[in-house]
Symmetry: C2
Subunit: 368 residues, 2 copies
C-alpha cells in the first residue's frame, strides 16, 4: 500500500532540498519534523551504488542542539552516562541520553567546541526540549538553541577521493570519530569521519543555510568521474551493519544496556547524570533483553511498518523492529530485541509477519 506525503511548512525542507528534488528523490520519511530522503532509484539500486562508489546524503535532519554558556559542560554531563571528562576537542562522542528511568531519549553524537560550547547532533526526538527543560528547571546558566547547521554526509568507499577534491588532502588526516574545521569558499565547516553507514565517509556540518547548495554543487561537480550520486541512509545496508535507528529499534522503553550500549555507560566517579539510579540497578543484574541480529527465512520480505512479534512455542520472546532482504547475504536480515533466555546465537524462533509466519534464527553478529 503506497501513500503520498502531504507537504507543508511543518515538514521542513532543508538547505539541500532543491538538489535532492532536482536529482529525482522518490520517497521521503519525516525525521525531527524535517524531510529525510529514503529512495532515489530504488532501495536495492541505491544500496549497490553506496557499496561501490560514493554518495552525497542530505542528513540535515540530524539537527544540532547548541549548549552555550558557563554551565554547558555541567549540563552535558547531566545528560549522559558517558564520561566526557577526557574528551578531546577534536573528538566526536556517541552519547546515550536517558531519562530519569534510564529510558533512551536519543542516541546523538556530541561535538565539543570548548567546555562552554557544545553541539549535540540528534536522532529522531525533540531533544532540544529535554535539554532546555532541564536547564530552565534546574536554573543552569546556559543558552540552549537550534543553530542554523545542516549536516551533509559523504558516504561510500570512494568518499576520501571525493572529499579530497573539494577540501584537499587534509581530509585523509581525519581519524574515525574525529573532526577538523576545513575551509570551503569564504566559510569553514566542521568535517568529521563518521556517518550512518558501514561504507566509510564523512559528515560536513554546514553552517549557514545559504552555504548548502554551493557545497552540494561543488561535490557533484568534483565527483563526476567517481560516479557520485545522491543517496540517503539505506535500509538494507544499515540493517546488515546493525546500525540502530532511534524510534525503530529503540525507544524510551529501552535502556542503553538493552540497546547494546553498555560500553558508553561507565560514568565518572560521583557523576550525577539523570537516570543514574536506574542504570546502576540494571548494571548489577544485566539487561533482561537485548538487541540481536536475526535472520528471517524465505523469500524477500516487505520491510516492517511495526514491530513483528518473535515467538518460541506459544510465548512472545521478542520483536523484530527493522528488516530487509539483503542481496549480498542472500537472506532477510533484521534487527530485533530478544529476551535473555532466547538471545543465544543459533536459537530458532518464529516471527509473525503481516503476511504469515516465518522461521528466524538469532545470529552471532550483524552481517559484514
Amino acid at each position: 500500500m503506497t501513500h503520498l506525503v502531504s507537504h507543508s511548512r511543518r515538514l521542513r525542507d532543508t538547505p539541500f532540498t532543491p538538489g535532492v528534488e532536482a536529482s529525482g528523490v522518490t520517497g521521503y520519511t519525516v525525521y525531527n519534523r524535517m524531510l529525510l530522503p529514503t529512495i532515489f532509484e530504488s532501495i536495492e539500486a541505491d544500496y549497490r551504488h553506496l557499496k561501490s562508489h560514493v554518495q552525497v546524503w542530505d542528513v540535515s535532519v540530524e539537527r544540532q542542539i547548541e549548549l552555550n554558556g558557563p554551565d554547558a559542560l555541567k549540563l552535558m554531563q547531566k545528560l549522559t552516562p558517558r564520561d566526557l571528562s577526557r574528551m578531546q576537542s577534536d573528538q566526536c562522542y556517541y552519547i546515550p541520553v536517558v531519562d530519569e528511568n534510564g529510558g533512551m531519549l536519543n542516541d546523538p553524537v556530541a561535538i565539543k567546541h570548548d567546555d562552554t560550547r557544545w553541539w549535540i547532533s540528534i536522532a529522531d526526538s525533540d531533544l532540544l526540549l529535554w535539554v532546555k527543560g532541564l536547564a530552565v528547571g534546574a536554573g543552569f546558566d546556559v543558552r540552549v538553541f537550534e543553530p542554523d547547521v545542516s549536516p551533509l554526509a559523504v558516504q561510500g568507499p570512494k568518499s576520501d577521493a571525493l572529499m579530497e577534491k573539494v577540501f584537499g588532502s587534509v581530509v585523509h588526516d581525519i581519524r574515525f570519530f574525529r573532526q577538523k574545521r576545513l575551509a570551503f569558499g569564504n566559510s569553514s565547516f566542521i568535517v568529521s569521519r563518521s556517518g550512518y553507514s558501514k561504507q566509510g565517509g564523512f559528515e560536513i556540518y554546514v553552517e549557514g543555510s545559504e552555504n548548502g547548495m554551493p557545497l552540494w554543487d561543488a561535490l557533484f561537480s568534483a565527483g563526476k568521474d567517481l560516479d557520485v550520486r545522491p543517496g540517503c541512509p539505506n535500509l538494507i545496508e544499515r540493517v546488515e551493519g546493525g546500525l540502530l535507528s532511534y524510534g525503530n529499534d529503540m525507544t524510551r522503553d529501552n535502556s542503553p544496556f538493552e540497546c547494546g550500549l553498555g560500553r558508553f555507560c561507565k560514568p565518572a566517579e560521583g557523576s550525577d547524570f539523570i537516570g543514574r539510579n536506574a542504570l546502576e540497578a540494571e548494571a548489577g543484574t544485566g539487561p533482561s533483553r537485548q538487541v540481536r541480529a536475526v535472520s528471517i527465512a524465505g523469500d524477500p520480505i516487505r520491510p516492517p511498518r511495526n514491530a513483528w512479534p518473535l515467538i518460541k512455542g506459544d510465548q512472545k520472546v521478542g520483536q523484530i523492529t527493522s528488516a530487509a532482504w539483503s542481496p549480498d547475504f542472500g537472506t532477510n536480515v533484521s534487527i530485533a530485541m530478544v529476551d535473555k533466555d532466547h538471545w543465544e546465537a543459533g536459537t530458532e524462533l518464529m516471527v509473525e509477519t503481516p503476511e504469515g509466519p516465518r522461521d528466524a534464527v538469532v545470529q552471532e553478529q550483524f552481517w559484514k
Copy 2:
C-alpha cells in the same frame, strides 16, 4: 511533485490505522512521529463532505501527556501563562505553552482529572520532553508520561446525530470545550465538544488501543444513513476558519501575542510561569507582528511547502504560512504573520509564490 511516504515503525501507526487504510486513505503527514491522514477522496471532496455531513477523524497524533502526582497542578501552572486556578473539572482549556523566551512550544488543550492528574493533548512537538525536563530539573514530585490514549474526532454538522446513536442523548448536554466521561461497551471515555474544524463536533479520548477499532466500527455502523465518512483535518476548511497549526503558522520564534492568543496570557497574580518576563515585556509594547487572514488573488494556488514572503514595495513585511483555494469563498485564503505597520484590514501586499508574484489583501477576519 509527489513523493511517497516510506513507512517504518518510527512513523507510528495508530489504533485506527486498519480502518483508515481500509477506507482508502491516499495521503499522510507525520505529526508527533505518528501518521495523520490528510486526504481520502480529494481535499476538495473531503471539504465538501465535512461541511455537509459528518466525518470520523483519526487524530491519535494528538498524543496525551499525563502529569500524575502531588506537584501536578504546580507544574501545570509553570507551563502556561493561562490561569488554571478556576478551571472546572469538566472544562477543556486551550493553553499556550512557552519557553523561557516566551516562544511558543506547543498550543495544547489541557484536561483536568483532578488537581493531581492532568492530561495535555498536544500539537506537533515532543512537549513530553519539555515537561519531563522541567519536572526532573526542578525536582517536582510528579510522574510525566504518555498514556495509551488516542483521540478520535467526530466532526461536521451531523456530529450530534451520529454521537447520539453511539453514546446516547447525553451528548447534547456537553457544552463547547466541556467534557463528560461516557460509557462505551465495557469501557468509558472522556468525550469533549471540541475539534480541529469549525463545523462542530466532538473528540473522544479513547483509552486502550484495543478499544480503537470497536469504536471506529460502531461509529461507521451507526452512521450509515448519515453518510458518515472517514476524514481528517482539512486544509481548506481550517484556513477559512483561521485554525492555526503549530509548526506551520507558529513556531518557537513566535510569541502567543503574535499568534493572537493574548487573551490566554492573563496569569494569576504572583504566577511564576516560565517565560513570564518575556511575555510581560511584550504585553507592555504589544507584538510587532501578528497572525492575519490574507486573501490571495488569481487562480487556485498550490498550497505552500514553505513560508512565502509578503512584500510591500521592496520590503519583506510578513509571510504566508498556510494557504488554499476556497471553493465556497471563491478566493485563495491564507494564514499569514504580518508586521504591525502593514496588518490593517485592506492593506494591499504582494506575495512571492514559487510560481510567481500574486496580489494579496489583509482581511478584517477569517472567512465564515
